[in-house]
């Protein structure tokens, strides 16, 4: 173990770790320069840098497998005693690889997707900037540096969500003309960008506050330093500040990962190019929150050793995850826009991860939940990125974001169809062959086994969510690929356009990911065990979290035999049945199309109400707008009109008028008649005498 190898200055073996996040930034700087000569060349440059970064990341993998770490620091803000550094421990190494490779694939995809776009330079700049920032989050060894990356990804997200800054109609999301609680449910890209930035910023400032609280007591931002000396936690705990600080930190994760109640920005973030949605709003950035929790959870959990109970924090995490998972899944079932469905799904799945991490802290087998969460993160990254890219291809080709404008595409886009099924199955958690199944199952197991008071309700919620997940995934695939061609497609074909398969540069990346979803899925359990082992060692060595309990559990549950060793039967059954129910329903409505879904919904006032409620996003979005946008603006206008313009302006007028009035009086006394003057003089003598005598 090389924990706490404090070295100052760049050391050679740490260079690759630095390179992982610096290379993309270099790309970002280089790209505008390259664009001066050739816009096309920027594609190559960006992809090359992404590949280089990914290869650097891969060099970190052996570390993870060997439970080693690179911790390298250089002086930064020396006047405050802060250092910059990289911390490539197993967690970071795994995450870094996920990020690097997914982003590499998406870069490749983008070369096709963004072909011919005028603003390609800007696109690449921000993409590269994003990847750099994301890797910075992953690899930084302290909060402050992490926050740089944190804001960097937010910035990139803002810039890329609003990439099509001209706000053309086709780039909007939502249904034009539709109103919820009097507010339009139809957003332009630039608007969405701002929304995303500000809402995540709300989370960020919470995180900042949490960071500061800890810094105020610990005097350091470094993760390792915080672990090594936990005196700060004792002090904070004594002052009842530790849990608030932890929750505030989690606030950052809530914002960035679009968890309840800051979940609404993610849907509008779909105005960005689909490659962006795939990379930022599905595979990586939204996972930053999960990563942050994964960074912190062991630290907080390990505090139990010195008698500090962090259960409240973990409960908050678990519940926020569970609620988000449920909330977004319900909405995902009804929305007509393909990217929005995927976005809901993303939020929902991240909810799962949060739930797992939260539950991990509540149970004694921390590693199980931890592994489950992280495993789901990896698998989700693969299938969701794949799904998004596929959806992007669809959008590209059909020219509409509505699933109702698609339909019956399976004959025309066979590859996409196949890959979408593969990835979709991953999302649904198709039994035994997909990563999604295993990771979700691990989560179920972790929740079920945690033995916490909240385990059951959370488990039920998770299960219902799983049903819904399967349903909406099936719905999506059904609506897009099954049934008849939509009017929109027919019209397009009339105009001489015919639906075709996407270009290779586009389908290969999501093909790879879809294949991986299945491929890893097949060996899912082994993969899980591998991660489990890595984390067990990592947590034990770095945080001193023992996993004895986990091993015991593993042994006791080996009743199902070799293949399913370590799988919780209850979880397994639940998972299977959830898949069955959800898929069955989806099949009935959308693939087999035995029942017309629209008619079904309209047939019953109850279903209609529920449908509308879900479609209107539980009215959350509208309420947030009313409370935090419309009302403050009214307030601001009111203050401007009645306070600033009247009261404050009055300060200008009052002296002016007083002066003018005084001046007029003075002028009036100066009558020009000498007698009066002399009279005043005479009286003045008396006045002065009086003044002197009193």
């Amino acid at each position: 173990m090389a924990v706490g190898s404090f070295e100052f200055g760049l050391s050679a073996n740490a260079l690759n770790a630095w390179a992982v996040w610096i290379l993309p930034f270099v790309a970002a700087v280089v790209i505008p320069g390259v664009a001066k000569f050739s816009k096309k060349a920027t594609n190559g440059v960006a992809v090359a840098f992404a590949l280089a970064s990914a290869i650097s990341a891969t060099t970190l993998l052996p570390l993870a497998l060997g439970n080693n770490e690179i911790h390298n620091q250089i002086p930064w803000i020396s006047s405050i005693g802060l250092k910059a550094g990289v911390l490539a421990d197993p967690l970071a190494a795994l995450m870094s690889n996920v990020v690097a490779w997914v982003s590499f694939l998406i870069f490749v995809y983008s070369t096709g997707y963004m072909k011919g776009d005028k603003d390609i330079t800007r696109f690449w700049f921000w993409m590269a900037f994003f990847v750099g920032s994301m890797q910075l989050i992953v690899l930084s060894d302290n909060f402050l540096q992490l926050f740089f990356g944190w804001e960097g990804v937010g910035l990139a997200s803002y810039a890329l969500v609003g990439f099509w800054y001209k706000d053309k109609k086709k780039d909007h999301v939502g249904i034009e003309g539709r109103r919820v609680l009097g507010l339009v449910d139809y957003y332009s890209p630039t608007h969405s960008g701002i929304k995303a930035f500000i809402m995540t910023k709300v989370g960020d400032i919470m995180m900042l506050a949490g960071m500061f609280l800890i810094f105020a007591f610990a005097g350091t931002f470094g993760f390792r330093e915080l672990t090594e000396n936990t005196a700060w936690a004792t002090t904070m705990s004594a002052q009842h500040l530790l849990i608030p600080a932890a929750v505030l930190l989690f606030g950052g994760a809530i914002g960035k990962s679009a968890q309840f109640p800051l979940n609404e920005w993610l849907l509008e973030a779909m105005t960005g190019p689909t490659a962006v949605s795939a990379l930022i709003h599905a595979a990586t950035m939204v996972k930053a929150g999960v990563f942050l929790v994964a960074r912190l959870a062991p630290l907080f959990f390990a505090l139990a050793a010195i008698g500090i109970n962090m259960d409240q924090f973990f409960e908050v995490v678990a519940w926020v995850g569970a609620i988000t998972a449920f909330l977004l899944a319900t909405q995902g079932m009804v929305h007509p826009e393909i990217k929005k469905v995927l976005a809901y799904s993303t939020g929902s799945q991240i909810g799962y991860m949060m739930m797992a991490l939260g539950v991990a802290g509540l149970s004694r087998q921390f590693v199980d939940g931890y592994t489950a969460g992280f495993f789901h993160l990896i698998s989700h990254a693969m299938f969701k990125a794949s799904l998004f890219m596929a959806a992007g291809s669809l959008l590209h080709i059909v020219g509409s974001r509505f699933m109702t404008d698609m339909g019956g595409l399976r004959k025309y886009m066979k590859k996409t169809y196949a890959f979408m099924w593969a990835a979709g199955l991953g999302l649904m958690g198709a039994p035994f062959i997909t990563t999604g199944f295993w990771s979700k199952d691990a989560i179920f197991a972790a929740v079920y086994e945690s033995g916490n008071t909240w385990a059951l309700p959370i488990f039920v919620l998770a299960l219902i969510t799983a049903v819904m997940t399967t349903f909406y995934t099936t719905r999506m695939i059904g609506m897009v690929f099954f049934g008849n061609k939509s009017k929109h497609v027919e019209e397009m074909e009339k105009e001489g356009y015919h639906i075709h398969e996407a270009s290779p540069s586009m389908w290969i990346p999501y093909g790879i990911l879809a294949v991986l979803t299945i491929g890893i899925g097949v060996v899912g359990l082994a993969f899980e065990h591998q991660i489990h082992d890595i984390f067990t060692e990592y947590l034990a060595s770095a945080f001193g979290i023992k996993s004895d309990m986990a091993n015991v559990a593993k042994e006791s549950q080996s009743v199902l035999g070799g293949f399913l060793e370590g799988v919780n039967p209850v979880a397994l059954v639940s998972s299977l049945s959830a898949f069955a129910i959800g898929f069955g329903l989806g099949y009935i409505f959308y693939i087999g199309r035995f029942v017309d879904s629209t008619k079904f919904v309209n047939s019953n006032i109850f279903f209609y109400a529920i449908h509308k409620f879900f479609l209107n996003r539980w009215y959350l979005n509208a309420l947030i707008y009313w409370g935090f946008v419309v009302a403050p603006l009214y307030f601001a206008r009111g203050v401007y009109r009645y306070f600033e313009n009247i009261v404050i302006e009055g300060f200008n007028l009052v002296p002016e008028k007083t002066m003018a009035g005084g001046a007029r009086i003075m002028q009036a006394t100066q009558t020009g008649i000498s007698q009066s003057y002399l009279y005043v003089f005479g009286a003045g003598i008396l006045i002065v005498v009086l003044l002197l005598l009193i």
């Binding site: 002028q667 100066q670 009558t671 020009g672 008649i673 000498s674 007698q675 009066s676 002399l678 009279y679 003089f681 005479g682």
Partner: protein
């Protein structure tokens, strides 16, 4: 000395007050000069009275100065009045009020 100092001073105060009255009420420029003379004379009366009672010569000296200066002042004042008279054909000070405000 049979008369008390205070009697002289009181006469002088009366004369002073009358002078100020004259200045602040009368409109005729020449009459205003009268009033000025009264004021100066009241002061002179004071000076000489004090000089008698202190006693030293300084009061009387100052009174002499004052009389001479009053003469000079009156000369200038009358000259101004004459200029005004030439210009306006009028010596009513209250009508001279073009400068005001």
């Amino acid at each position: 000395m049979t008369n008390a100092l205070i009697d002289f001073v009181l006469v002088s105060v009366a004369l002073l007050a009358i002078g100020i009255y004259g200045l602040s009420v009368k409109r005729n420029a020449i009459r205003m000069l009268f009033a000025v003379e009264m004021i100066v004379n009241s002061a002179n009366l004071n000076l000489v009275a004090f000089a008698r009672f202190i006693p030293n010569s300084q009061g009387q000296t100052l009174a002499l100065f004052s009389i001479a200066i009053a003469a000079a002042e009156v000369a200038v004042g009358l000259a101004l009045v004459i200029v005004a008279y030439r210009m306006y054909n009028n010596i009513d000070i209250a009508d001279f009020r073009s400068l005001k405000g």
